[in-house]
């Protein structure tokens, strides 16, 4: 049985879709079978970031309503054989997702794939709660910025209350993915530091993605950043985060940190 991961944040625009695509492609490059699922019905974008927007025929709502079979709706990535996308619908209203339908689709996906990565819509409404409902683990995407941290705190509360795991009295694994981090601004005291966000949200850190133009470039060309430029700083950070997600124990590094003589003497760690 595969693992279900929800990529969530509460706030919009913090990098959920980018992170879903990047982590999905990173896990697929480890030769695991991966499907990324877009839950943002009405405002789908994962297809665009994955570069599959012209190949969408059926979507998750078609599958739930029985208009298409699951294998018909899955789109295989052109670059990685074992990476698939289940798109959201663009036109229908968000009530088209039913709890029973989502449960059926997730159960099927878990049978075929090692990883089912759900890209949550922003907000705390139905779409977001359905995206997290069946998750075994959650990646909480947060920017080092007050409104994002506050919304992440709300989402962490929802994860502990509204998921199947939580309702069964089990613990849902939650991981913090800090995105758009600018080490220089943080060092200058103009941006919340990794330690600040960790202390406030108190969930374990799975990675720090640096603010980088490589992320925008990857979405421009329609490729997960871990495929567009595997050697770029954000891609390497996502590869490390994917390894941690898979259970590897890696020390966290702060990308872009220039280790001067002081850094070497006082060798600091993030977590």
């Amino acid at each position: 049985m595969g693992k279900v991961v929800v990529v969530t944040s509460g706030k919009g625009g913090v990098g959920k879709t980018t992170s879903t695509a990047a982590l999905g492609a990173a896990l697929a490059q480890r030769n695991e079978k991966v499907v990324v699922v877009d839950f943002d019905v009405g405002l789908r974008n994962l297809d665009l970031v994955m570069g599959a927007e012209r190949r969408v025929v059926y979507d998750i709502v078609n599958v739930i309503q029985g208009d298409a079979k699951l294998p018909q709706a899955l789109i295989r990535d052109k670059r990685l054989d074992n990476l698939f996308l289940l798109p959201a619908s663009q036109t229908r209203d968000k009530d088209a997702l039913t709890p029973e339908g989502v449960e059926r689709v997730m159960a099927d996906l878990k049978r075929y794939f090692d990883w089912v990565i759900c890209d949550s819509p922003a907000g705390i409404e139905r779409g977001a709660t359905l995206a997290m409902r069946h998750a075994d683990m959650a990646v909480v995407v947060t920017n080092p910025e007050v409104s994002s941290v506050r919304d992440s705190d709300r989402i962490i509360g929802l994860l502990d209350a509204k998921t199947m795991k939580a309702e069964r009295g089990e613990r849902i694994e939650k991981h913090l993915l800090l995105t758009r981090y600018d080490v220089n601004r943080a060092e200058r005291g103009d941006m919340l530091k990794v330690e600040d966000v960790l202390e406030i949200l108190s969930i374990p850190l799975i990675g720090i993605i640096p603010e980088s133009s490589d992320v925008l470039r990857a979405s421009n060309i329609g490729a997960p950043v871990t495929l567009a430029d595997a050697k770029s700083a954000p891609a390497m950070a996502y590869f490390d985060a994917a390894r941690r997600l898979a259970g590897e124990d890696l020390p966290i590094t702060i990308p872009g940190e220039k280790r001067g003589i002081f850094g070497k003497i006082f060798g600091r760690k993030a977590a």
Binding site: E145, V146, D153, R154, A186, G189, D190, K193, D196, I200
Partner: protein, 86 residues
């Protein structure tokens, strides 16, 4: 960054951190939030029982601090308002 700028502008991140800590400690204990709402409603109900109050002349302010919350209710009672509310 020049040394002058360092003096001219205080660091903003520590402020962000402090504001978040205070805010989230309140939001996490939804009990605290509900209490302030409850107090506000009941106090205003009591006042309305005795005087007719123009809703526009009532100001309610809440200040949530790290250790205490302050609920400030400012009701303007006109001189001829000894008329009992219905």
């Amino acid at each position: 960054m020049s040394i002058f700028r360092l003096f001219a502008r205080p660091r903003s991140a520590p402020m962000a951190r402090e504001r978040l800590q205070v805010l989230l400690s309140h939001e996490r204990s939804s009990v605290g939030n509900d209490l302030v709402t409850l107090l506000r409603e009941e106090i205003l109900a009591v006042i309305a029982r005795h005087v007719q109050v123009d809703p526009d002349k009532v100001q309610v302010k809440v200040d949530r601090d790290e250790h205490v919350s302050i609920l400030e209710i400012d009701v303007e009672i006109p001189r001829d308002a000894h008329v009992m509310a219905a």
